[in-house]
Symmetry: C2
Subunit: 310 residues, 2 copies
DNA sequence: CCCATCATGCACCCTTTGTGCACGGTTATC
DNA sequence: GATAACCGTGCACAAAGGGTGCATGATGGG
């Protein structure tokens, strides 16, 4: 209900370039350029300035974007309240999530909604957490399930979003089946200090989680290999190249020649999985129902775990 | 910046029929109907119900319209603040006003703005007070100068508007030049009680002001004739048909065989002239400048009056 | 019982809006 | 210092959304 051009401006404010804005919103760069030009004409404000080979927000532009946060939240709140008051159904619902979160939480949610609300058009987008926030701003999705890193750019009280913790997902260590530690029930990080490690590339979200866990216990592990996908990492471990961290929610097929061992003791790494929505929209019946389903799913997952892991 | 369809819904909420909404917004009835249908589709809410040969807002619709007041105000406030912060100029500026108010206040304002801001497109619409409020809601105008009747539907703290008193305009009595009272400096309502009166039609804004003034002093005057335009009324008085009330701001040509006499004493009728803007927009530099010009003009008018009339 | 009024659907049209490509300008790299 | 890569923008073209005018159906008043 807020003008699309203002939404586009907000997306631009997040990513800084016309091209990226186009990619996020689904428009072409020309369209974004035209929208921003048109917005300036309608409002009679200069919002952008040339800056090198790109464009940059003017002070007025930044002011407008900053102020629009409450406007968007106000609208979301109004829409949610009207939905609630009139017991209405909305027609489109966009979900976003990250790999395992999407598989374990979003897929069941989408399936449930598909059965309880047959005429609701549910769309699921797999995207990393940062992109999920961008997609929320761009109004491509309405709810995101993401992993929140404490070391990340994650800000709990961002005026644009409201976040709900679903569960903490501990990271296990995966070990070759013929490794001496493979038969253990649990293991500590100290015991794993001398192992060759397989991690994601430096700078990725999980890599920072990895280093944070080991600095907590005061050892610096040796990184032997890097992998991008969990599957690749598992294959590396299965080939005896080293050990690696794997979130509890990530599935591990039995035929992989790899075993999963729980980590105990100090510095035990975990990722926090949260649901994020645009501020104001949390009162919407559909969002409420979805959060309920997600929470129930999260509780079922927690209930299936050994007690010392809760 | 708020979706046009929501603006249309708000106008509909004020006037109740699609046809009237079309007339006010400048669209065709079909377009209004399509917009409202589209709005319901996009929001997934049922906002309208058939009601006899017309349509009526549902509870959800009323809720949405009521809640949108703050949304609109928030946007106006944001726009005004951005204008202020960036020292920007807006391109279009719509003014609305009522007969003498338009002539005495709006015309000078428009002329001043035309010279101080040459590239500002100023548009003046003459319309009665009620319509001015509608035009503000429909965003056809940005500022209205209207007469506020205490007996009117005028509500000072309407969440949609902000109002500023410009001046109180007393009503004089106009008398045939050969009338015994014509040579007086001032006259009281009691002295005029037995005269035949010429007023506007019952139900009009000025008629209610007329009756209110006389009930205050406890007499019921005799209404001999009715006129719609000031010019007609003046002509009637000039023909010796009776006496009438004329606002101080309404011009009286000397060749009319009619004299204007000030009214003193209890129940002295006056109309209050106020400027109205959409709530939130009052901080806009252009609005501020306009209000300043209007206030200055009002002060000049007040300064030219006899002291006992202030 | 007929007519006035009101909303809506439909066909047509036009303005708006988005796309794809080429261009000019700027920065980084070798 | 030349070249390549990148970024935003303008233009021609195409698609679609949105508006108009008229006809239709429904309803209430005289």
């Amino acid at each position: 209900m807020i003008d699309q051009r203002l939404i586009t401006l907000r997306v631009f404010a997040r990513c800084g370039t016309v091209g990226a804005t186009a990619e996020l919103t689904g428009y072409s760069p020309s369209a974004v350029s035209a929208q921003l030009r048109e917005l300036q004409r309608v409002l009679g404000m200069q919002l952008l300035t040339k800056d090198g080979r790109g464009v940059r927000l003017t002070a007025t532009g930044r002011f407008l974007v900053a102020g629009s946060d409450t406007l968007i939240a106000e609208w979301e709140s109004l829409r949610a309240a009207a939905m609630e008051a009139g017991d209405q159904v909305q027609s489109r619902f966009g979900l976003g999530g990250f790999s395992t979160a999407a598989a374990q939480l979003l897929a069941p949610l989408a399936a449930t909604l598909r059965s309880t609300r047959p005429l609701l058009e549910v769309q699921v987008l797999e995207a990393n957490p940062a992109r999920c926030f961008d997609l929320l701003v761009a109004e491509r999705i309405d709810l995101a399930v993401i992993v929140a890193m404490q070391s990340d750019t994650y800000v709990e009280d961002d005026p644009r979003f409201e976040q709900t913790v679903l569960l903490d997902d501990p990271l296990d260590v995966i070990i070759p089946a013929d490794h001496p530690l493979a038969s253990r029930e649990t293991v500590t990080l100290e015991e794993l200090a001398s192992e060759p490690w397989i991690t994601e590339a430096a700078g990725s979200t999980y890599h920072s989680l990895f280093t944070a866990a080991f600095t907590a216990v005061g050892v610096t592990p040796r990184i032997a290999h890097e992998a991008v996908e969990w599957e690749t990492q598992i294959a590396f471990v299965g080939a005896g190249l080293g050990v690696g961290l794997l979130p509890r929610l990530a599935p591990l097929r039995s035929a992989e020649n790899v075993v999963r061992v729980r980590i105990t003791g100090k510095g035990r790494p975990a990722r926090r999985i949260v649901a994020a929505v645009r501020r104001g929209s949390i009162a919407s019946p559909l969002i409420q129902e979805s959060l309920g389903i997600l929470q129930a799913r999260a509780n079922r997952i927690l209930a299936a775990r050994p007690e010392d892991d809760l």
